[in-house]
Amino acid sequence: MTYEILTYILGGLTIGTALMVILSKHPLRSVLYLVVTFFLISGHFLLMNAQFIAIVNVIVYAGAIMVLFLFVLMLLNLDKDNEPKTPWLTKFIAVISGGALFTVIIAATSESFMHLSQKAVEKTGDAIVKVSDQEGLVENLGHLLFTEYIVPFEVSSILFLASMVGAVLLAKREKQTIVEL
């Protein structure tokens, strides 16, 4: 019971901060609200026994990516007229299409609602289920990562190398710009 109350409170807070991300006028506030949203989502991960993913989410998303966003935002030195007001018709259409997206996804997955809850009831009597309760711990995930998923893990290092080279190449100032300044 306390688990469900905690889940609902966390879910409501997550939706509220996610709304504040797109509603707040200043991009700096959006970044800070997004950090709060990521922390709340990590709370959800903790509640779902996914401790490793929760920690990774805090470190990589809230710690690294959001700080990168903040740095770029500070570097850009934005003034007031950089983001003109969106016309209300655009907002209206965007909200309508977002709601339509929500409705379509819920309608498409609504069959699985019944199915999943039935499956959960069926599994209660199952003895095999007990083994896999601790799948989110670092030990089990690390074993899975370094045996079954070793190839994608190595490929991701190549991806990081490529993105690092790309970022350095793109963000490097050209010689003409230096002369200009």
Binding site: V31, L34, I41, I53, A64, P84, T86, K123, S163
Partner: protein, 109 residues
């Protein structure tokens, strides 16, 4: 040993299906309404995280860790994407002195 908070048998993904769909829709609305390109990138991150939430809830419901590995790789790809996207953004700002997405209609001039 870290205590388990919810046992797998009594876990239900219905709440997380709805919550992550709401978060994904909020991200989509943000992409459609905002003009600031940094906020657009942030809305994409929000949508990625909504998908992560759903994947982890499926992983807990099924009792297998494969979906959590997927989430790990999504985080990795999101980090790479954010660095490249932000450096493209910096270059665009250097050329145009603005990051308003509407002013980038023709990128080659």
């Amino acid at each position: 040993m870290i205590p388990l908070i919810v046992s797998q048998a009594e876990f239900s993904t219905n709440f997380y299906l709805i919550l992550s769909t709401i978060l994904f829709s909020i991200g989509a609305i943000g992409v459609l309404t905002r003009k600031n390109m940094i906020v657009l990138l942030m809305c994409i991150e929000l949508m990625l995280n909504a998908v992560n939430l759903l994947l982890v809830s499926f992983s807990t419901a099924n009792g297998t860790g494969d979906a959590q590995i997927f989430v790990f790789f999504i985080v990795v790809v999101a980090a790479a994407e954010a660095t490249v996207g932000l450096s493209i953004l910096l270059m665009a700002y250097r050329n145009r002195r603005t990051i308003n997405a509407d002013l980038f209609k023709n990128l080659n001039s």
